[in-house]
């Protein structure tokens, strides 16, 4: 027990090493800093994949370790993206508006610039007024703070309500899905203040860096994403390695027992739910500048379900499993849906992967759930000989029918 944190978790070192090699490799093959073997758009894809891996780590914390199948973490991811997107879009539009107004014979007033930005941004939804939510859009520092605070606050309020009334298991999943649906429907409205279904766009352009080519910008974001993933991974590993990890795994396996040991289960869940929401927000804030556009469809419940799919395929309850799942599934998805995969001609019917990939994914997900609950990560157990106690078919979530507990009544 007195060995160091890293010493007890050699997988962290291995992970960091692999990540570093990957990052350096991509750097040397990029168009900006190396041989140009990897196109800038693929660098962006890789950078985005790292962000997805980060949100998958957060998902694994809350689901794989604490047993809370949240179908809302991609909503937090999207919120983070929206928060940084507001600043990017505001400042970028300000530049455009200023440069066009500067050509006028009379220099613009501050108010005219703001009005001009408002017109540019909200013209598509038939408005020109800045809604209250944009109050801090001109400040990078404040918007960066909001990247963490907004998802965190939403998770805190929602979690406080849900955990307090001891909603657990599938009920909680459905409730988080409802929250996600509510949020995306809200953002779909034109008067939500975030441009309705148009979403925020042009996020790939960094304000003030017009003369820097996307080749370089993409690399910066790639490095940023790699760093965030490394930090997030170490942080998550630190959380689950100590007694806190024991407690949340205990909550996953037997909530009532943990409660009778004197731990405030609700408090732990709330803490973890909020922290993972914040990590998801950070991942989103790094993802969407690389994607260039964010709209409410990104937040739709199905996205959060895919997140669960990644983690399940990669392997729940192990952090590297989540990373492997996210990276593997999203890259394979990109391959199949991007049109690169060759069609299969069966003679009477041609399988086009763009159409059939989702079906394959759905079915393979069913197969993984049925036959390989450990996911891809389970392969490592074959190598390392890690042994799992026979759980007699008990699931990883809380007890069957936890909601019906007596205490839930009042």
């Amino acid at each position: 027990m007195n060995r160091s944190f890293i010493g007890r978790n050699p997988s962290i070192l291995i992970f960091l090493l692999v990540l570093a090699i990957f990052t350096i490799g991509v750097t040397f093959m990029s168009e900006a800093f190396g041989a140009g073997m990897i196109s800038t758009s693929f660098v962006k894809t890789l950078g985005k994949t790292l962000c997805l891996a980060l949100v998958a780590v957060a998902m694994d914390l809350i689901w794989g370790y604490a047993g809370i199948l949240s179908l809302g973490h991609f909503a937090f991811f999207g919120l983070g993206g929206y928060m940084i997107g507001m600043w990017l879009m505001y400042e970028r539009t300000r530049e455009i508006v200023e440069s066009s107004m500067m050509e006028a014979p009379i220099p613009p007033t501050e108010q005219e610039i703001v009005d001009g930005i408002g017109n540019q941004i909200f013209g598509v939804v038939g408005s020109s007024e800045f809604p209250a939510v944009w109050a801090f859009a001109d400040s990078l520092v404040l918007q960066l703070a909001l990247v963490v605070l907004v998802p965190g606050l939403l998770a805190f309020v929602f979690g406080w309500l849900a955990f307090r009334s001891r909603v657990t298991g599938v009920y909680l999943s459905i409730l988080t899905q409802a929250m996600t649906l509510a949020l995306s429907l809200y953002l779909f409205q034109n008067d939500s203040g975030l441009r309705g279904n148009n979403g925020l766009s042009g996020l790939q352009n960094l304000p003030g860096l017009d003369d820097v080519s996307q080749d370089y910008v993409s690399m910066w974001f790639f490095w940023g994403s790699a760093l965030a993933l490394a930090l997030g991974y170490v942080f998550a590993a630190w959380i689950v390695s100590g007694k806190f990890g024991s407690v949340i795994r205990g909550i996953r396996d037997n909530e009532a027992r943990v409660r009778f040991l004197g731990y405030s289960v609700e408090g732990y869940k709330l803490f973890l739910f909020t922290v993972t929401a914040m990590i998801a927000g950070i991942a989103g804030a790094l993802y969407y500048p690389q994607a260039g556009i964010i709209n409410p469809a990104e937040i739709a419940p199905i996205a959060s379900i895919y997140l669960a799919v990644w983690v399940a395929i990669g392997g729940r309850g192990r952090l590297y499993g989540a990373v492997i799942g996210a990276v593997f599934v999203s890259l394979v998805s990109t391959y199949f849906t991007g049109g690169q995969a060759p069609d299969i001609n069966l003679g009477f019917y041609t399988i086009q992967w763009v159409d059939w990939w989702t079906i394959l994914l759905g079915l393979s997900f069913v197969l993984v759930t049925l036959f390989a609950p450990q996911g891809i990560g389970g392969l490592f157990d074959l190598v390392s000989g890690r042994h799992h106690p026979d759980r007699h078919g008990a699931d990883l979530g809380p007890d069957h029918g936890s909601l019906r507990e007596e205490e839930a009544e009042e």
Binding site: L69, A104, P105, I106, P107, T109, Q111, E112, F158, L161, A162, R164, S165, V167, G169, V170, Y171, S173, I174, L175, Q177, A178, M179, L181, A182, L183, L185, Y186, F188, Q189, D191, I302, I305, A308, V309, A312, D355, W356, T358, I359, L361, G362, L363, F365, V366, T369, L370, P373, G393, A394, D395, L396, G397, H400, G401, L403, R404, E406, A408, E409
Partner: protein, 658 residues
């Protein structure tokens, strides 16, 4: 001299000819029928056909008191009246052969003969004239023996009343044999009295009689009476003879100060855009009014530059904000009724007030019906789930896709069987069969391996859900497919102008009730229901008593799925069929079951009702925004679950398990 002589001679000749013609006409009139005489009297007007001058001609025909008057007007309106060029007489003509017209005399109704079309001149009344003729005709048609014509006449009056027709209408009421038409005539008479009767008391009486009536026509009649326009009196002296509704305060929402100021004919205010434009026009050597252009990003410097321009006399001074405010302050703004008679407007306002109250009550009723039908839809969508989730405890996220499969089954059946009624009758059992089979297959292949692992069931069924959705997209494409309801479901039941409900919704409501009964019957009265409950409560014990839990689970799951399929057909009739139709209902369905209380069908019913009512209620507050309604509804449900975590009807005690 010669010239003058010539003129005289010419004039004489002309006069002679004219006299001769007059003679001929006079002589002819004696032989002509009375209607032809009337027509000939106004021949010039009729032939000239101008909306402005035609009035006397139409009146003459209409008021001639002749039997033929109605025929003439009808023929005229239908552009079937022709003038014979030879003698200028008017006939009803019908083309009976190739360019050959058969002429009929108006007075006698006798066929006069056949003539080629070049011997005739068609009278072509324009649309304005035809509508005038139509108005004149109405008074005849109101008493026409043909019921359809009377009906048409009343409809014409309902669309557009006419002061002159008030009396003919009143006269026609007593003689009306058809009670329905009589009622309509009386109603139109009341409404026309409100608008056209010259007698104030009669109008007020009519207004009071119609107070509280829900008809849109009543509101359409009354609203113009109370319409107002805002007028300004700069010195505050409002003429006493105006029918004033109220004084308008500038700065209110109705009348912003800027608008109020514009109504006063003062010098115009200068907006910041105008100011900028003015400055731009007056740039001299990079300076405006002596201030360098580069400094003009500062609003204060702009003001200063404008001031300098004014001082220099380059531009006229503008009113300051204070001056404008003062001017607005000094003036009086009033809303004036277009209707000059205050007694009428007061009566109309009272009547409208009553109508509003009545409309409000009926809207509430309408909202209640809407909520009921929406609740039925949620109930339909959720009832299958109430079986699989509520009774068996299996989370089936592909439930929405079963609904979709049912809807597509209905669509495919309609492609094969074109008769809508027959296709629906075939589609319902077929949809049940298809989804029952799908449900059984899913239970056998996936779910039975995952009993008691709800989260994993949830995930696996998610996988099936996205696969099925994509499959539907591959087969049917992404565009919405119509599922047309049979004609007898197409209409709607109208109680009055406010409350109406479409027949499809009633059918869905009935279907929901039927499903409720079927569910109760199966669960409480059949062997399957008993075995299902036994297996759910204690699979081991049930197995020991000879029940095959696998078979029961399979059948129960199939039943829940099959009901989802039928619900899919019903929902498809009401909404467009797309591959995402199930997604639209799945969250609400789960909410319905959870809010109602898991494992209790009455709870599901209450939950559906609650969610339907809530949805409609929120929509009523913000009708333009259904997205917001859904958002707030979900938030409400999240909060609701705080207070009743186990739903409206909760199982209590140790039996509920822990």
């Amino acid at each position: 001299m010669l010239k003058r002589l010539l003129v005289i001679v010419l004039a004489a000749v002309c006069l002679a000819t004219l006299a001769k013609a007059q003679d001929a006409a006079t002589q002819a009139t004696d032989d002509l029928g009375p209607m032809q005489q009337v027509l000939q009297e106004h021949a010039d007007l009729i032939v000239e056909s101008s909306r402005r001058t035609i009035g006397p001609a139409i009146d003459a025909v209409a008021n001639s008191g002749l039997e033929a008057a109605q025929t003439v007007l009808e023929v005229w309106q239908a552009r079937d009246m022709y003038q014979r060029i030879e003698d200028g007489l008017f006939f009803a003509a019908e083309e009976t052969g190739d360019d050959i017209f058969t002429l009929t005399d108006f007075d006698t109704g006798v066929v006069v003969g056949e003539v080629p079309d070049d011997a005739l001149e068609q009278i072509k009344p324009n649309s304005g004239i035809r509508s005038l003729i139509g108005t004149a005709l109405v008074s005849f048609q109101l008493n026409d023996p043909d019921r359809a014509k009377r009906d048409e006449a009343i409809s014409s009056l309902e669309r557009r009343g006419n002061a002159e027709l008030l009396t003919p209408l009143r006269n026609s009421i007593d003689g009306e044999p058809d009670p329905a038409l009589k009622e309509r005539k009386m109603r139109v008479e009341r409404l026309m009295t409100i608008t056209y009767d010259p007698d104030e008391d009669a109008r007020i009486e009519a207004i009071e009689e119609m107070a509280g009536d829900l008809g849109v026509d009543v509101r359409a009649t009354l609203n113009p009476l109370v319409a107002t326009t805002i007028r300004v009196f700069p010195d505050g002296n409002v003429p006493a003879d105006l029918n004033i509704a109220r004084e308008v305060e500038p700065g209110s929402e109705e009348l912003p100060v800027a608008e109020a100021y514009e109504m006063l004919d003062g010098p115009p205010m200068v907006s910041s855009d105008d100011l900028r434009a003015t400055l731009q026009d007056n740039i001299v050597d990079g300076r405006v009014g002596g201030i360098p252009v580069a400094e003009l990003f500062d609003p204060e410097r702009r003001e200063a530059a404008y001031g300098a321009l004014v001082d220099a006399g380059t531009i006229p001074p503008r009113p300051t904000a204070e001056e404008a405010a003062q001017a607005v302050e000094d003036a009086t703004f009033v809303a004036v009724y277009a209707e000059p008679n205050p007694a009428i407007t007061a009566a109309a306002n009272r009547a409208l007030g009553k109508i509003d109250t009545n409309v409000g009550l009926n809207q509430f009723l309408d909202l209640g019906l809407d909520a009921l039908s929406l609740g039925s839809i949620y109930f339909l969508a959720a009832i299958g789930l109430a079986i699989t989730f509520g009774v068996m405890g299996v989370i089936n996220m592909a439930h929405g896709e079963f609904i979709m499969m049912g809807a597509y089954t209905g669509y495919v059946v309609q492609q094969i069987i074109p008769n809508h009624t027959a296709s629906i009758i075939v589609a319902i059992p077929l949809a049940f069969a298809v989804t029952f089979a799908a449900g059984v297959a899913m239970e056998r292949l996936v779910i039975r391996w995952l009993y008691n692992r709800p989260l994993e069931t949830l995930l696996a069924t998610f996988g099936i859900s996205i696969a099925l959705q994509q499959l539907a997209k591959n087969i049917f494409g992404t565009q919405a497919r119509p599922l047309t309801s049979p004609d007898w479901l197409g209409g709607s039941v109208v109680l009055n102008d406010v409350v109406s409900i479409s027949t499809v919704r009633i059918a869905i409501f009935v279907l929901a009730l039927v499903f409720l009964c079927v569910f109760l019957f199966i669960m409480k009265r059949t062997r399957l229901g008993l075995e299902t409950r036994a297996v759910t409560q204690n699979p081991g014990m049930a197995g020991a008593m000879g029940i095959n839990p696998g078979r029961v689970n399979m059948l129960t799951f199939g039943l829940g799925s099959g009901i989802a399929g039928i619900a899919g057909v019903a929902i498809g009739l009401y909404a467009q069929v797309t591959s995402e139709i199930g997604q639209a209902y799945i969250v609400q369905s789960f909410m319905t079951v959870v809010v109602g209380g898991v494992g209790n069908i009455w709870g599901t019913l209450l939950g559906a009702g609650l969610i339907g009512a809530l949805h409609k209620g929120i929509e009523w507050f913000n009708p333009s925004n259904t997205l917001a309604a859904q958002t707030y509804m979900i938030i409400f449900i999240i909060i609701f679950i705080q207070f009743r975590p186990r739903g409206i009807i909760a199982l209590k005690g140790r039996a509920a398990g822990d």
